[in-house]
Symmetry: C2
Subunit: 200 residues, 2 copies
């Protein structure tokens, strides 16, 4: 290794070396192909299918994403971010209760388009652990804000955990009657200020 001093490019960050152009190209193609395939065949689609659609070998897929789930996570990250970003926007445009409802609606729509994602999140397979983590780290604060605002406004009870709700909705989504079931869950939010189901 001759010394590789990157002269002026030596940014603070560990920017070891400029990313090779082919890497960037393949990564883009991969993410795009994966997004398309996931939408079509669900998140359980074979890696080979994605690799082929992207015009790369499976080796390339695995170099960028050591685990299948890493690819899934990468593909969804940006959509998750967008969903999280929507929260403050809605909060600024509607009253607390309405904003909460609208955000949940958006969240449901997002989850619904990802066949198999709900299962993956809950599969228990250690390989999917990072995914729900990212989900919650990004979505929980967003929902938490809306939840708190709505509770303060007295529109819903105040003892509901954002993470719980996020998880519950994700599980309910995907079913034919998802809308109805989520609605029921939301009604539960308004039931009262104190626990009361007897199942606690």
């Amino acid at each position: 290794m001759s010394d590789k001093r990157r002269t002026q490019n030596e940014v603070a960050e560990g920017a070891d070396r400029r990313v090779r152009v082919d890497v960037q190209r393949n990564l883009d193609a991969l993410l795009q192909a994966a997004k398309a395939v996931f939408a079509t065949s669900g998140v359980d689609a074979p890696v080979r299918e994605i690799a082929e659609k992207a015009g790369v070998g499976v080796g390339t897929v695995y170099r960028h994403f050591p685990r299948r789930s890493d690819l899934v996570a990468a593909v969804f990250r940006r959509e998750i971010d967008a969903c999280a970003a929507a929260a403050p926007l809605l909060a600024a445009s509607y009253e607390p209760g309405e904003a909460l409802l609208k955000w949940i609606e958006r969240y449901v729509a997002f989850i619904a388009t990802k066949r198999g994602l709900a299962e993956a999140l809950h599969s228990g397979d250690p390989v999917f652990e990072p995914l729900p983590l990212y989900f919650q780290q990004n979505l929980e604060p967003a929902l938490g804000q809306l939840l708190r605002a709505a509770a303060t406004a007295g529109e819903i009870r105040g003892d509901v955990d954002a993470g719980d709700l996020l998880n519950a909705i994700a599980r309910l989504s995907g079913a034919d009657q998802a809308q109805r079931m989520v609605a029921l869950l939301v009604d539960g939010l308004r039931y009262g200020k104190k626990a009361s189901s007897g199942l606690r």
Copy 2:
């Protein structure tokens, strides 16, 4: 044991031939092994593992259960039946609201012990189609009865479909916070007599 004529055993049904003893033995061993393995490793456990535990070859497993899911279904059928049978018993021993709550509790406990079952039910994999069918055909009437009784008694709203609720609970079960989420759902049952979430 010479005289083998089926004499009085000759039931009307096309009892072509008495089931071979080894068949019965293997079938029992299989169901028992499967039940144990499912409880330990979840319903996704490899068929080979079950076959080995039962002391039979995989060929035997597939002769009795053409699809993996058929075995899963067989193992749960009796438990499902028991769960369904509990409904009228509870209805006879408690007031409508209480009976409903207790039955849901039992249902949750049952689902909880079957790691992966909720996912299987919803997997979309055509191979699991018969399972949810059996579930609903047996559990829906049971829950429906309790639901109707509770609604009549004015303890919950009357527009909740038993199938929906069954499905929703199955999806929620298995999570760490399943109890809390189901409780929230149940609270939703009491919210009012009319739709009100705005998500409908």
